[in-house]
Amino acid sequence: MSMISHLFSIRATTCLTRNILRATPIRLLSSASSSPNKTTNANDHILPKELPSSEKRKAKFNISWKTVSVTFIGAASLIAFIYYLDQRKMQKRKVLQRAAVGKMAIGGPFSLITHERKPVTDKDFRGQWLLIYFGFTHCPDICPEELEKLSEITDLLRRDKSTQKNPFQPVFVSVDPERDTPELVSTYIKDYSPHFIGLTGTREQVAEMCKHYRVYFSQGPKVGDDYIVDHAIIMYLINPNGEFVDYYGRNKNAKEVAYAIEQHMNAFKESNK
């Protein structure tokens, strides 16, 4: 596409230059003829003052300003049209990219209870942007680190008032249903942010959600009554339509994740105007 536009622009410029060159000698001629009493005989041998009728017709056809401006307008509109086509193609590509990520079969319905013992499903979160982190309260170091990050992301995104139409909701989902009661989850998440919603449930409910979200989790070896749950360390972004949009691992820091989410929010606003 850019090759063609290149060729077109080259052609346009050559057209233009050809016309300018054609126009200039005639301008020179006319200026020479307008100089009043200086009937310069020198000019006569370059170009005759009075052109023969056939030449005159040709000269009329090549009259400067009209030809130049017409060619110029033609070239400019051609270039503008090609630019417009190029922009349309870029937009189409962007839409396809977004659609491609959304088509990854991640996400689905879930049915759990909140840290306040309120039963919820995925449908209750429509209209909100969700960032879901899977973890457990007896986690030695990774979950606290990631939850601090989630808290920072929440603060960064809540600063911008324009996102209020579709608010940002951070969610913690426990992959340790045996131990993590709603009360335990409630105490745990309060240490990180007052805005978190914690979700837990029966083993079946948690397993069902983790299956849809492709989240691996497995109870480790027991030491007495204690154990560590091995699990995928990941945050999932879900848009107000309940569709999976993006994921973030340990390699991204809070600012990077918040920035990426903002881009998604803006794109969503644009496509839903």
Partner: protein
């Protein structure tokens, strides 16, 4: 006090960091850091102690790998199938 309590977690991490700093100073000689080790073990649950010990070993291995200090025959054993 249990791991659900933020203060408990922070104390555990502090004792772990002190113990690790001692190991750093003494080139991993555990005998020189016995007291800190005891404090660490009493401040954290057993599963966490095991977890942090494994983490330390892994971090040291990663550092050695990056610095090229790992013996090449060790690496050969973990290399994938080669073209023959």
């Amino acid at each position: 006090m249990s791991v659900i309590d933020k203060k408990y977690r922070e104390k555990c991490w502090l004792t772990r960091d002190d113990y690790w700093k001692c190991l750093d100073k003494n080139k991993e000689e555990k005998e020189k850091c016995l007291q800190l080790r005891q404090l660490f073990e009493s401040s954290c649950p057993a599963t966490w102690v095991t977890h942090f010990d494994q983490k330390r070993e892994y971090d040291i291995f990663k550092r050695q790998l990056a610095l090229g200090e790992v013996e090449t025959d060790k690496l050969k054993s973990i290399k994938g199938p080669s073209k023959s």
